[in-house]
Symmetry: C2
Subunit: 245 residues, 2 copies
């Protein structure tokens, strides 16, 4: 039941190397699709179905799964329950994982009671904020603690994933403390590049980046933005009006 990744050197070696980063990022998509299928009472699914449900190519999907060491059945497809369990195992999602959130502004609060975390085995163990006014406040069933208690909070949550939802200026300091406290996995929402030791895994979600990419595409779409029919040449909008319908 443990990670059989470092498997016995007898099993057809070479079959599965490490999954590529791109492949790993697709695993949660497969898992979500399988969960939905299972909820519908489906017991098997073909690579084509899963591909359609996830937006991934069928060939890529089959390759990912085979590298996982799964066993679909030729002529039939994959066993929904079994594959879901296998992916969950692979992702470490079958075990509960602990999370500490630093920064309890609106975003931190939103994350604290985000359904998608709990339903995938993530348990928020502590909420920390530098603002003393917030301390004691209850969010998502947890009392917000002063950031001084970061180390203590992390100690009570191994292995711990740290989530940084502070303003950009505070992020590196918080990151340093998390790392010093032993946290090796960090998800940050602060729009800064965090410096960390090599063994620490940082993933960054930049909300405004996504919007900027959309804006880029919109701008060069044929009828998208460039033709400002009624829009004033440069200055786009007064931004004053109430807009109300």
């Amino acid at each position: 039941m443990t990670a059989r990744r470092s498997e016995a050197p007898g099993t057809r070696a070479g079959a599965r190397g490490a999954l590529s980063d791109a492949a790993v990022a697709r695993l949660p998509l497969y898992l979500a699709a399988l969960t939905a299928l299972a909820a519908d009472g489906r017991t098997t699914a073909s690579s084509e179905e899963l591909a359609a449900a996830t937006g991934v190519g069928a060939a890529a999907l089959r390759k990912d799964l085979s590298q996982l060491g799964t066993h679909g059945t030729r002529g039939v497809g994959y066993d929904v329950e079994r594959l879901a369990a296998q992916i969950a195992e692979e992702l470490g999602t079958s075990r509960a994982r602990s999370v500490v959130i630093v920064g309890v502004g609106r975003l931190g609060q939103a994350l604290a009671d985000y359904d998608g975390f709990a339903s995938r085995g993530f348990r928020v163990r502590a909420l920390l904020d530098a603002d003393p006014a917030l301390a004691g406040h209850e969010v998502a069933g947890l009392a917000v603690r002063p950031v001084d208690e970061l180390e203590a909070a992390v100690a009570g949550c191994t292995p711990c994933i740290g989530v940084i939802a502070t303003p950009a200026a505070a992020a590196q300091g918080v990151c340093d403390r998390l790392v010093a406290a032993g946290v090796r996995s960090i998800l940050t929402f602060a729009p800064v590049v965090l410096a960390v030791p090599e063994e620490v895994d940082v993933r960054r979600v930049d909300l405004s980046l996504e919007l900027q990419v959309l804006a880029f595409h919109a701008q060069r779409r044929p009828g998208g933005l460039p033709s400002p029919a009624q829009a004033p040449a440069q200055a786009p909008a007064p931004a004053a009006a109430g807009v109300t319908a």
Copy 2:
């Protein structure tokens, strides 16, 4: 869908083809780094500096910028202000862009007053929610409107980027309405694959996906998760002490 660039037809054409998706996603990083440098009073920056600040390779960065049609100066580097302006222009960030947010739960609220949006030229024009109890409530200076008014709200916000922050079950319906109302760019936080016509650009941010990817890496990290005990083996710091400098 040739990425027809509108620029003044005189600038050495042919030099830049369409930027790859990967390159486009790096533009906001460059812009942020340049903004930070400008704030520090720096007037020029080399590709090496920008690479270090963004975590991108210097060669890749130079290639991206040259495809943008920029002009750095050999032996000197890039003009910080000028390059920032050029990238902002390219991203459409220099013009204010309008945004409508559907779903005003915690996440929607967090997005509504996220600094990173406003500071990059995104203006939230309307907040919509299906819950009548929320209607009229003020969030980030805007009154929440009933979702019935979606079409009207979109009409008052061209060109409009739609942000979906509803529960998964509601997402496709909202998406359909946005598309019908003319929205071509959608950012969704709902963990479902949205079906849209080809001309609509959808980007999806899946918060739990990021956490799952972190969990995957943690699980196969040498001292990461597999060892159940407190694993002092590799762990560098005791994690107990106050750590205060």
